[in-house]
Symmetry: C2
Subunit: 152 residues, 2 copies
C-alpha cells in the first residue's frame, strides 16, 4: 500500500466515523422527547451511572467537549430542572452539578425511548463483532485526545 493510499484510507476511516456519528445522533435525537438532544441524555446518564456532584469541567472532559459547550448543555438541563448546579464549597471558581428527581425521571423516559433502537441494532447486527471494535476505538480516541494539545 503506497503512501497516498494509506492517507486516503485513513481519511476514509474518519469519513465513515463521521457518517456513523451523524446518522446515529440524528436517529437518537428523533427518538428522544421533544427538544432534547442526545448530548443532554449522555450527561444525565453519566451523572446517574457514575455519581453526581461533578464539576462542569469534569463533565466536559468526560465527553471531550469544550467548556462553553458544557456550559450550554448544563444551562439547557438546568432550565428544564434536570440538574442543579451549585457553588463548589471547596473552590470559589468552580461549581458542582447534581441531578434532580426530574432528571432521573427524564433518564428513565429517554432510556425507554432509546432501548428499542439499541435492541434492534443488537438483533440486526453482529453485536460481538461490533463491540470488539471498542478497544481499538478507545485507543484511537485516547491518541487524538493526547495529540490534541500539541501544536502547531
Amino acid at each position: 500500500m503506497d503512501l497516498d493510499d494509506q492517507r486516503a484510507r485513513l481519511f476514509e476511516l474518519f469519513n465513515e466515523i463521521h457518517i456513523i456519528q451523524q446518522l446515529a445522533t440524528t436517529e437518537f435525537n428523533r427518538r428522544l422527547p421533544e427538544g432534547l438532544h442526545v448530548s443532554h441524555f449522555a450527561v444525565i446518564n453519566h451523572l446517574c451511572r457514575l455519581g453526581d456532584g461533578r464539576t462542569p469541567l469534569q463533565l466536559a472532559s468526560a465527553f471531550q467537549v469544550t467548556k462553553p459547550t458544557m456550559t450550554h448543555t448544563l444551562t439547557q438541563l438546568g432550565t428544564r430542572g434536570f440538574v442543579d448546579v451549585r457553588a463548589n464549597p471547596a473552590d470559589g471558581r468552580s461549581k458542582l452539578v447534581y441531578i434532580t428527581a426530574a432528571g432521573r425521571a427524564f433518564r428513565e423516559t429517554a432510556i425507554a425511548s432509546l432501548n428499542p433502537t439499541l435492541d434492534a441494532m443488537a438483533d440486526d447486527l453482529d453485536l460481538p463483532a461490533l463491540l470488539s471494535l471498542l478497544p481499538q476505538l478507545a485507543t484511537l480516541r485516547r491518541y487524538l485526545d493526547t495529540a490534541r494539545d500539541v501544536g502547531p
Copy 2:
C-alpha cells in the same frame, strides 16, 4: 452479558465514535486554511477523485448529509470560487457541480496541510489494525443508513 449491559456497551460504542469524530474534525479544521471546514475539503476531494459533474443530491447522499446542508456547503464553495454549480441540461430541477482550477488548488493546499497529521497517526498508531475496522464500520454505516427511513 445481560441486556442492560449490552445496551450500555452499544451506547458506549456510539459515544466513542462521537468523541473520535469531534476530536478528528476539530483537529482537521485547525489544520485547514482559515475559514475552511473539513466538510468543504471532503466535497472537493470527492469531486477530484471520483469526477465532477455530479448533482447536489448525489453529493448529499455520498456524505449522508441532508439536502440543505449540501446546499449550504456548495454555497460556501461557490462563494470561494472552488466549484461551479450549473443548471443540469438533462433535468430542469437539478444542477451539476463542477470543480474549478481554484478548487483543485485548494485541494492541493488542504492535502498538504492534512497529510502531516495523517502521517503522524500512521506512525504512532497500529495502522493495519485501525484500517481493519473499516469493513465493520462500513457495515454499521450501511445499517444506520438503511434503518434511517423506517419509522416510527
